[in-house]
Structure formats: C-alpha cells, structure tokens
Amino acid sequence: MDAVVEGRESLRAPRPSVLTRLYAGFALIVEIWCALLMVAMALIVLLGVWYRYAVQRALPWYDEFAEFLLVWLTFYGSVLATRRGGHIGFETLLDYAPRGVRRALLVVADLVVLAIQGALVVYGWRLVQAASFDTAISLRAVRLSWVYAAIPISGALMFAIGLPQLVWRAMGRQRP
C-alpha cells in the first residue's frame, strides 16, 4: 500500500511531522491574536468618535490606545507575514538565477533577516528597559514597557519561525 517502489513515490501526501503541526497551531494562535487586536482597534476608534460627537465628552485615552494597538498589530502581523513568506522581497533576479545560486542567495537573505530578528530581541529588550520608568499619558496605570514588549516578543517569534525555514532551505527542501 504505502510501500515505496524504487523510483516511484507514494501519491498520498506524507503525514505532517510533529514540528510542522506545532508550527501550524502556533500560526493559528498568532492569527487569532492579530484578529482580536484588529477588532479591538476598530472598536476603540468607533468609541472615540461616538464619545466625541454623540456624548460630547471625548475620551481622553482612545487615540493613545488605538495607537498602541496599531503598533502591536504591526509587530505581531509581521510574525504572521514571516510565517506566510509575505514580507516584501525583490525576486526578479532570483527568477533568472540558476537553482544553486537561487538557493545560496535565499540562504544568505534568511541569515540577514535572522540577524535582524535577533537585533529586534536584543535592542527591543533594551527599549523595554528604557521605557520601564514611563506610563501611558492618558491612563497612568498602564506601563509603557508592556507596550514596548511587543518588539522583543515578536522578534523572538519571528526568529523561531525563521530558523527552521532557514534549515529547510539550506537542506534544499522547498517548504517546511
């Protein structure tokens, strides 16, 4: 049935490995998180408009917190984009290159991106520490280090996604 005859491969798709399923589940969680952030941002902005025009007593905190959510959405959204390979890339050159060169270039690009993600973690953490004295302006109970934490956390998540992608690519497989 599943026995592989020499020179022919099974037509049935191979069962995904534990790691693949783990990453799929993790991507789903990030996806849900991003959707929640998006909905929350829309609600806060609508609430801000409602209070300004209908209630005639504007909320002091809506624009600051809508901004925080936009920042979070950008960083966690880029985790999702990393997972889907959706970040901006310049691919024309790659399309013309022979397969070996293409693979080498992709590996180099992955290494550079990985280094940047590492920098996001290290310097993001330093920013979190630099912000530890400060609070949000409109709600003093909210610490800004919580807001800034999105930078090292999303950097670490992207690193976790980028690393196996790099290994797979270096080994010559197309997709994890």
């Binding site: 600051e64 060169v101 080498a104 180099v108």
Partner: protein, 339 residues
C-alpha cells in the same frame, strides 16, 4: 559543476556586499575625540524651538570648537517627544527639547499645566533659578535617565476656533477642542465646559480645515509655524498656560562626557534660557499682526482672565490632592511672583 561554481561566486558576492555595508560603522567611532550631540525637537523650521536650539548649537560650537559639535534636527526628524524620551536613554540621540510631555515622566511637572500659574517671563526665570525647583524638579529626573539642563520656552498658549470668540469660560461650551495628550489639559478644558479631544499635532491642520475639530490651543509661535491661522476664524488671547521647554540630555551619555565640557554645556543651556524668553516675547508681540496680514478674516479678541482664573480653582484642588508634592510646589511658585 557549473552550478557549484556559480553558487560559490554568489555566496562570495553576497558576503562582499554585506561586509561593504558594515564599513561605515567603525569609521564613525574613529573620531572619538570630538563629541557629536544630536539635538532633536518637534518644532517646525519657523518655530521658537528651532530658533532657540540653533542659538544653543551656535554658542556651544563656538565655545567648544573642535571638541563638541551640536547638530539640530527639527520637525520631529528624530522622533516625537515620546520617542525621544526613550531615545536619549538608549543613546539613539544625545539631547532633545521636551515640554508638556515631562508631566508624563514626573507628575510634579503638572504644576506648569496649572492655568495662569506663571504670571510673566520674569516669573518663569525666577522659578527656573530657584534652588528647590532645580534640585527637586529638574535634577531629580536623573533617576529616570534624563538630565534636564535648563528651562527654555514653548510659550503662552492661546485658543483658536471657528465657532465664536472666546471671552469667558462659558463661551467654550460644546466646542470640540483639540488638545495634546495630558491629563491636566483635559481636566482644565472640561472644567471650562469645552469638549477637549487629544489628537496628534501633525493631524490638527486638516482636522480644523475639515471641521473634525472646532478649535485648538497652542503658543502663537506654534500656531504660526503650523499655519493654523489660515483655517481658523477666531484667535482669543487666553494665555491659559505657560509651557516651558527643557533642554535634556540622556543621563547615561551625560555621565560619559568630560566634566569641563559638561560645565560649559550646562552654563550655555542656562544662558540660552534668557535668549528663549526674549525671543518668545518678541514673537508674541509681532505674530498676531503677521497672522492677520496672512488671513485678514481672523478676528482677535482679549479675554476676561479673571473669569478663567476663577473657573480654574478646581484643577488646583485636584492637583494638590493627586500629586504628593503638588500643594507645596504651587505655593513655592506663587511665592516667586514678581510684584
């Protein structure tokens, strides 16, 4: 085989490109003798901030030629005030010029948000030079990574709007007024009966133009720089708050600067405070006429300041209640009022 050779060539070229892009880094560190101070602020090229920062740069660069170079970056090129607070702590820049934002770093700075507390610029100078203010307010921020070197000026704030001339607090009723972020400004205009809404400075012009907001409040030099007078019908000289600005260095960087240079920079920063106040006064005296020349339909009116002061009593009470050192600070500043 051919593919392999090409691959090796590709890798070599890539490594070469990456290393070339890194060449700039060591070159910047080679001239360690000369200290470069990147000085950021949020004012536009015509603003008092730019004028003052340039004067500071000119004086420092003249007195410390070859040892220190101040470079000024206007129009938030190095980030908003909120960005720059974190920036000077991690060394993204060396100095910046925060004003209202300081009340989010330390509640005590909210005292300069109290309406009509600073009577005139001579009063501000006396406050800035008082040893208690220096020690407990300015120098105390070193604990939070910020070294405040002096007190410059953002200016006296006035209200502009498109609904009616404001002469007493009641005239503000129902007006959608843009304010910068900050607890006390919000409380103050709510007490006056307005509908204050925080909004980013860069969005204000189009908000006024399209009617999203009825009005805003800012010092004349900022109104002029952002051209709000072109989209407003009434300018009311409320002068409700005097906002100082504080030339500020990152504490971690400041401690690495040689002591003699620190002394000189500190002295110049304090001296430029006088320049800032003189220029602020000059702009206050000339800008109203300039604005009316640019927009002949702009109506300017004086206000009943006593009515505004009376309506402000509640904010002072709130401030004394919410900020531990608030009451003492208010008393100290009021005791320095020039006769």
């Amino acid at each position: 085989m051919r593919a392999h050779r090409l691959m090796r060539a590709g890798i070599a070229i890539s490594i070469l490109l990456v290393s070339l892009s890194l060449v700039n880094v060591p070159r910047a560190g080679a001239q360690a003798q000369r200290i470069v101070i990147r000085f950021g602020h949020v004012g536009f090229p015509d603003s008092l901030f730019e004028l003052t920062a340039q004067e500071f740069a000119r004086r420092v660069n003249r007195e410390l030629t070859g040892r220190v170079e101040v470079r000024v970056f206007h129009s938030s090129q190095l980030g908003t005030d909120e960005d720059m607070i974190r920036g000077v702590r991690v060394g993204a820049l060396e100095m910046f010029l925060p004003s209202t934002i300081m009340s989010s770093v330390d509640d005590a700075f909210g005292v300069f948000e109290m309406p009509y507390i600073i009577v005139n610029r001579r009063h501000m100078k006396a406050v800035a030079e008082h040893p208690d203010v220096k020690r407990n307010l300015l120098e105390a921020q070193a604990l939070r990574g910020l070294r405040l070197l002096g007190v410059w000026e953002n200016g006296y704030r006035h209200v502009t709007n498109n609904v009616r001339p404001i002469t007493k607090p009641d005239d503000l009723r129902g007006i959608k007024l843009r304010i910068p972020r900050g607890v006390w400004r919000q409380k103050m205009f709510q007490a006056y009966g307005a509908n204050p809404t925080p909004m980013a400075f860069s969005e204000v012009f189009s908000a006024l133009q399209t009617g999203v907001m009825d009005g805003q409040e800012n010092p004349l030099a900022q109104i002029w720089g952002a051209k709000f007078h072109e989209v407003q019908k009434f300018l009311s000289m409320t002068g409700h708050v005097y906002t100082p600005a504080y030339p500020t260095a990152g504490e971690a960087w400041w401690q690495k600067v040689p002591p003699d240079i620190r002394l000189t920079i500190k002295r110049i920063a304090e001296e430029v405070g006088d320049y800032a106040r003189a220029q602020g006064e000059r702009l206050d005296n000339s800008l109203v006429a300039e604005m009316q020349k640019a927009n002949p339909k702009l109506a300017v009116n004086q206000v009943d300041k006593r009515a505004f002061i009376a309506a402000s009593a509640r904010i002072y009470d709130d401030f004394a209640k919410e900020v531990p050192t608030g009451a003492a600070l208010v008393k100290l500043i009021q005791s320095l009022t020039p006769r």
